[in-house]
Structures are given as structure tokens and as C-alpha cells.
Amino acid sequence: MSGHTFQNKAIRWIDERMPIFTVMQHSAIDYPTPKNLNYWWNFGSLALFVLVIMLMTGIFLAMSYTPHVDYAFTSVERIMRDVNYGWLLRYLHMNGASMFFIVVYIHIFRGLYYGSYKAPRELLWWLGIVILLVMMATAFMGYVLPWGQMSFWGATVITNLFSAIPLVGEDIVTWLWGGFSVDNPTLNRFFALHYLLPFVLVAVVFLHLWALHTTKSGNPLGIDVKGPQDTIPFHPYYTIKDLFGVGVFLLFYLFFVFYAPNFFGEPDNYIPANPLVTPPHIVPEWYFLPFYAILRAVPDKLGGVVLMFGSILILFALPWLDRSRVRSARFRPIYKQVFWLFLIDCIVLGYIGAKPPEGAFITIGRIATAYYFAHFLIVMPLLGRLEKPRPVPQSISAPVLKPAAATAQMEKV
């Protein structure tokens, strides 16, 4: 690891006592990265970028926010109206949550497509799922803080799910609430946890990156790096590529912040929470909709809760459910189709989650839920046995260097 000598004396002095600069040099500059990563590999660094934005805007919002049922709503409006650039902070944070999920969902589907979860990256994948779970908890509690109608009723519906647990369910719900309904103690603890969990996220992301830097990045071909000819140093190649990604991402993100800041939101959340008036449709934030659909697909409450959590937990088992030894879908003719089916299934679930549970929506929701689980429990294991993968290339540099003709052709199109 050591062996790098720095010109600057001060840096050398520190590095000899604690090799922080060597580590940085190692993992952010020299770090050997496959040369053939496509733009789907940008989404990890984008997720990190959003996480930092969420932390920064969140901390400043917390300086002006009051976690009390009588003041929460108005304190948020004070931020919008009277705090300098408070509207910007809040809209960045609010839309940032949606961006975080968009980015991370793409990041996950990238992993699914290219088989990033397979050996030796299982632990990296697991840490990713832990990140997803912590993110969801954070987003859920954050949504409660402005104490609008959807905050209150969303919190009531979701916390009530735990009452489905046999025997101790009711006690657990009372314990979560800190009382006998969603009320001031609930809001207080949700604020405390919403402030805490992002820092837990930072820690898990650190582990995620540690695991990444141990196994190194995969690549679109899904084959192992064979030697130095297959990699390029992270800096400047991927620093500039990630920066370009950040630029494009910011254009997308800030468009919403400046021109459609409430696009992802619910109008009802601009009505102060009122325990006596139930809104006609209680819908969670869009990023929970597929899971909400799974929850409601089961007529039994406990069954619904189990399936809902199961739909995420099943991702932990994916490295063993997928028996194929080929990572990338590029060389898996059937899985390549199945992947899109699965993505469509998730979108259908999201659509159903937004609809009232009636008529055809119930049937479609059940079929889509069944397919969701069938994808993991039946299709993936079967494919591993039945599918005949196409031959994979010898090495990364082989296909990158060879078909100069192919590249020329593509440019013509």
C-alpha cells in the first residue's frame, strides 16, 4: 500500500504517521478501473452526490424546523417564506429524496442487468440492500416531518402495519407511536431518527465502497479483469466521466427544483395534519408504490406485510437464486428478455400502488405480485439451468481494441 512518495513535505509528514494520502491516492486516483464501463456505472457516484446534498440541505433545514405537532407545519412554511433561500433548501431536499430513489433504483437495475451481485460481489450487493432499507426508513420518517395530511395519514397507515404481527403487534405499534395514536411523541422520535439515519447511511456507504474497492468494479461484459491492459486509473478517466454525469444529473434535478418543485409531491400535504379528517386517497410517495401494491395484493394483513418486506429481503438471496455462471445479460439471451419483463412488472406494480384497490386493479396487482416473486424463485433458478449463454469474450481489451471497424460503423449511423 505505501510506497507512494509525496513531493509536499507537510503531506509526507502526515502520511508517514497516518497514510491517509496514500489511501486517497490509492482509491481515488490510481484505483484501477475497467476501461469499458458504460454510463450505467455513473449512478453509484451520483447516489453519493445526492447523499451529500441531502445531508447538507437537511442540516440547514433542521436549524429552522420545529418538531412539534402545533408548530411543524408552520415552521416549514416559515422556512419557505421567511428564511433566506429557505424555499431553495426545502425544494432541494424534497426533490432530492425523489432523485435519490431514481438514481438508486437505476443503480440497482444496473446491478440486476449486469449480474453485479454475483461472486465475488455478494457482500457489496448485501450492503447495497441495507442501504436501500435505511434509505426507505429515512424517507418515510422525513415525509412525516412537515405534518401535512399525507404525513399524518401515511404515518398512521404504515405504522399500523406492525399491528399485524401476532400477539405483540398492538404493543409494538403503541411503542412506535409513544402513545395511542400518531401524535407529538411520534413526530419527535421521527425527527430524531430522521436526523440520525443519514449518518448511518454514510457509514454503510463507506462499507459498500470498501467492499467495492476490494472486489473492484464489474463491467458490462461481466468478465474478470485479466491484467493492467484491461484497466485505466480512476483519475482522470472516471473523475471526469463522473463529473459529466453530475452535470447532466443536476440539469435534470434542478429543473424540477426550479420549475416543477411539487411534481413528485401530493397536494394534500399542503393541508395541515388533521386527525379528524381522513383524505379520500392515502397514497405513499411514488418510490414506495410498488411495495404498497404488493402489500395490498394479499387479502390477509399479516400476509401482505410479510410479502412486502419479503419483496426486498429476497434480494439478499439473489446471488444464490441466480444459478447462471455468466454475469452480464449481454451474453444471456433469455435473461436479457426476462430482465425487461421484470422491470415492466415493477412499473405495473407502481401503477397499481397508486390506484384504489378495486375491480381490475386488484387482479392485476395480484398477478404482478405473483410474477415479482416468481421471477426470483422460479425464473432465475430455472434459467441458470436451462439457458445456453452465448460465448463471452476473452478479455476486456479484446473487444474494446479489436472492432475498430464496428466503432466506425456506429459513428456513421
Binding site: 476501461k35 458504460n38 450505467w40 408552520t74 412554511e77 419557505m80 417564506r81 424555499w87 431553495l88 425544494y91 425523489s98 431514481i102 433504483y105 437505476i106 437495475f109 442487468y113 485505466i232 482522470p236 478517466y237 471526469i240 466521466k241 463529473l243 459529466f244 452535470g247 447532466v248 443536476l250 440539469l251 434542478l254 429543473f255 427544483v257 426550479f258 420549475y259 418543485p261 411539487n262 411534481f263 413528485f264 401530493e266 397536494p267 394534500d268 399542503y270 393541508i271 379520500p280 386517497h281 397514497v283 411514488w286 408504490l289 425487461w340 422491470l343 415492466i344 412499473i347 407502481g350 401503477y351 397508486a354 390506484k355 384504489p356 466503432t407
Partner: protein, 253 residues
Amino acid sequence: MRKFIIGTLAAAGMAASTAALAAGGDQQITDVDWSWEGIFGSYDHAQLRRGFQVYREICGNCHSMNLIYYRNLQQIGLTEDQVKEVAAEKEVEDGPNDDGEMFMRPALPSDHFVAPFPNDQAARVANNGALPPDLSLMTKARLKGPDYVYSLMTGYQDPPEGVEVAEGMNYNVAFPGHQIAMAPQIFDEMVTYEDGTQATADQITKDVVAFLNWAAEPELEQRKSMGLKTMLFLIVLTAMFFALKRRIWAAVH
């Protein structure tokens, strides 16, 4: 790859469908062209002042606007003296004074808009049991808020045959369920505009909706102008990143 992009877009569409859901069946909402829509949209400040006049003379008799301060009116072009005058029309409780007594005093620019009723119960009693909601965030608290409020205020009609309208209720094509406790409020020539604008019912409605939208989104103009500068800057920056990326990667490809 292209499919992936389509998939991503579909996911975004999913978010939009949530919104579509809340719109609910048979409300008739008219799409109005508002001056503040679009990337270059901004408020017409004369219109905002007219809208405030409508609120002050009509809606303010029943609806509070608790989030707005009198001082905020300077933003739409009232002078400091005019704001003081408007505020002083209302009284607020203050105190305790040196004798430990609460007392009434004229409102100041630093006070919130004084609500027409001391509490929700009093508001209900005066309105046949229905509560006139606070209007500070009304255009954000309803789907397609400005269009909705416009359609609501102009949506009073005779009920179609066979439809029973309950006692004290009014038939309205924009309101969910079509029966609203608020009677029609806006008629031609109901207010007299100082700037000579013709006070048709349509004009009055548009003016008050503009005012309500300003109240809900007072940051809108600052937001859009900042957005424009930021986006232009980002486009240039991103283009430079892209050029640099191509340059650096030229040797690899």
C-alpha cells in the same frame, strides 16, 4: 440501452399517474393560461393588487390567510403607508401590559392577516356548520390548484335534473361531489378597480386566483429567475465537462 431509457421514463410516468389519480372522476376543471406559468412566467403585480382587493372585500369575510403578514404586501407593490393603513383596519389582541391586562390594538405590518373569526368553531357557526378553509396555501393544496379555484368560483350551475341539492348546499361542477357549502361569491361589478380594469366576474376571479397563487408561492419569481441563470450556467459547465471527457478519453477509445 434504449429500452432502459424508456423504462426509466416509464417509471417517471408512474409518479405522474399518482397525481392523475387524485384528480378523481367528474370534476370539470378549466385550463386557464396564467401569467406565471412556464419557464419565463412571472406575476402581473397590478393583477396581484386587484386580487388582494377582492380578497379584502369579499373572501376575507369568511376565509383566513394565516400564513401571510401585512408586510408581505409590499412585495406586490403596496407602499409602506398603504400597508400600515390596510393593517390598521383590523384589531389584534396584545399584551399583557404593565397592569397585566390584555388589550386590543390596531394590527401592524408585522402581524399576520387577522382572521375573520376567532376560532374554527365560530367560523362554522357563521357558515351553516361548514368551515371556510384557510386560503394561504389553497392553490398548492389542490390538484392543478389555480385552475381548480378558478373553476370552483365560476362553476356554480343549476343542478341537473334528478339531482337533489342538500339544504344550505350549492351545486358546483368543479367541487368534488358537486355540493359545496359556499354560496356563489363573485358577480360582475362586485368590486370597483382603481386602475380602471373592467370588473367582470371572470376578471375578478382570475385576479383573486393570481393573488392566492402569489400567497402560496411568493418565491416563484425569484425561483424562476434563479433557475434560468442556474440552468444556463449548468448547460455550459456540462458541455465543458463533456468536451473534456472526450479529450481525456480520446486515447482509450
